[in-house]
């Protein structure tokens, strides 16, 4: 029988099953731990305001913070097999294609995070709200709604299409950069990814400073018509969004090729 060397849904399901069965305890402990930590954090913020003025807006800000920071931590733990030589060997030589393994990791680390974390937060925040309201009836607005929270953010921050797109690209950048770092580095991938990004960002800042010094750009106003193509704040958001898309697609390509060429 001919073996499909690229993608087989049967093998992909076997990979999912294998990961679920082998990591079931870890998944359960992580979910309970994350729910408990979120619960306590929400309780703490409400207690600062004496359980009176916690709103959907505040809850939404906290969610966005968690979405980026906890999400980044979660994605930095991608490719857990690469943390040791012995695990890497088992993983790389397991009879499943590189594409299946990569897609599995991408789905369980990035796609599930994007879809699951909001639902998880919604559940914990509402559960916490109901519990606190039961014991402290003066806490009003304890029901968390993404729709209200999101609308308040849009209104208060005066966000438009391109701003939102730039923010989404930034979130994706955090996830994809840590995902790529976890694929590339064996030990301490989070710290090494941060260091690498700092070096790259530092390099670009130095280059920008050097160019502005060479071309004497400091005399020009930021939104002057003579400066490049950035004529308004909207242009900056469009520019950042497009750069974000390009960088994020590049990170996906880098992680894929790095994964395919991984050696142990």
């Amino acid at each position: 029988m001919q073996t499909n060397n690229h993608f087989s849904s049967h093998r992909f399901l076997l990979l999912c099953r294998q990961s679920l069965i082998i990591n079931k305890k870890l998944i359960a402990i992580s979910l309970i731990g994350a729910a408990g930590t979120l619960f306590l954090a929400l309780l703490f913020f409400e207690s600062i305001n004496n359980f009176q003025s916690w709103s959907n807006y505040a809850s939404m800000i906290f969610f966005l913070f968690c979405y980026v920071s906890l999400g980044g931590i979660y994605t930095s733990q991608s490719f857990p097999a690469f943390r040791s030589k012995e695990k890497s060997l088992v993983y790389l030589l397991l009879p499943a294609s590189a594409f299946e393994k990569y897609i599995f990791e991408f789905l369980t680390r990035i796609v599930i995070l994007i879809l699951f974390l909001p639902a998880f937060y919604w559940l914990v925040a509402n559960f916490e709200g109901v519990i606190v309201h039961h014991y402290v009836p003066r806490l009003i607005n304890y029901e968390f709604s993404f729709k209200d929270g999101f609308n308040q953010i849009i209104t208060n921050w005066k966000l438009s299409g391109w701003n939102i797109s730039a923010i989404i690209q930034f979130c994706l950048f955090v996830y994809l950069a840590t995902f790529t770092g976890a694929c590339h580095f064996t030990k301490s991938p989070r710290m090494k990814t941060l260091f690498t990004l700092s070096v790259i960002a530092g390099g670009y800042i130095l280059l920008g400073y050097f160019l502005s010094w060479v071309f004497d750009l400091k005399h020009y106003a930021m939104f002057s018509k003579s400066i490049f193509f950035l004529r308004s704040k909207e242009d900056i958001y469009i520019f950042l969004s497009i750069v974000g898309i390009v960088v994020n697609l590049s990170l996906i390509a880098i992680s894929w090729f790095r994964f395919k060429e991984k050696e142990v």
């Binding site: 073996t3 069965i21 305890k25 012995e86 060997l89 030589l93 009879p95 050696e263």
Partner: protein
């Protein structure tokens, strides 16, 4: 089954481990891969299994390039490394999860080998000793029915009865379509098992011969003096000398240790 041509390989920032290494192995044999420490035995096994990529030259395993890690090859190759990892799960659960990846997996054979090795399905792999884990991995490798089994120091960590059992099980569970490569320092553990010897030294395969060819050319005897006429190589042992001499009329059992020392000291047969 395996064909390697002009292989060159080096770890990043290190001297080349293999220069122009070539070899050819066919199915139906148990081949011993011997070499000094650092000769590159484990690296060569990893290159054959596909976990490392060569810098130049070609490796063909079952008509595949192992570095591509195609499923059709991974299905048919099992590497038992010297150091390995098992998740904290029972043998039963491990089998349930991993055996579907190997289409030829023989559950009955696995049951038999496990019972010979005195391992139970309910045992948690995390709580087994190193030797027991190794026995489980060897059992899994044999039951996978992969056409190529690559065993790196398989007897390290096994107790004496387990080594005897390992030889018995390995010899009894293979068919003529399979090839086993065993890399080991413990030549005594595999002396009556292997039928071909490869010796790796200074980045090259300096010796590739079957045991029957070797025993037709030379024989291994014990004497009181090293100055036996025509002796190719000799070594002092308690109470006399062990000698490798050209074969006269009778074939003797191949003393792999002496042969290895002779070959790595530049002797030719």
């Amino acid at each position: 089954m395996i064909q390697i041509k002009d292989l060159q390989f080096a770890y990043p920032g290190q001297q080349a481990l293999f220069y122009s290494l070539s070899m050819r192995l066919e199915a139906g044999s148990i081949t011993g891969l011997l070499g000094k420490n650092g000769a590159g035995k484990t690296s060569l096994l990893k290159l054959i299994a596909g976990s490392l990529h060569p810098q130049s030259g070609s490796i063909s395993v079952l008509d595949h390039t192992p570095g591509k890690r195609e499923v059709s090859l991974l299905n048919d190759v099992f590497l038992v490394p010297e150091e390995f990892y098992f998740p904290a799960t029972t043998i039963w659960e491990y089998r349930k999860v991993y055996t579907p990846f190997y289409p030829q997996f023989d559950q009955k054979m696995m049951d038999n080998i496990l019972s010979e090795f005195e391992l139970n399905s309910g045992d948690n792999l995390k709580h087994l000793s190193h030797g027991q884990k190794k026995k489980f991995l060897i059992a899994f490798a044999l039951a996978s029915r992969c056409r190529l089994l690559v065993l790196d120091e398989p007897t390290n960590g096994l107790d004496i009865p387990s080594k005897v059992l390992f030889r018995k099980i390995l010899a009894g569970s293979l068919d003529e379509n399979q090839l086993v490569i065993i890399s080991t320092h413990q030549v005594k553990d595999v002396e009556n098992l292997i039928d071909k010897i490869l010796i790796l030294d200074n980045g090259k395969m300096i010796f590739q011969q079957t045991l029957s060819d070797i025993s037709q050319k030379v024989c291994f005897v014990t004497g009181n003096t090293p100055d036996v006429e025509g002796a190719i190589y000799s070594e002092a042992i308690p109470g006399g000398y062990r000698l490798m001499v050209p074969n006269g009329h009778s074939e003797t059992e191949v003393d792999i240790e002496l042969l290895f020392n002779a070959i790595t000291n530049g002797k030719k047969i």
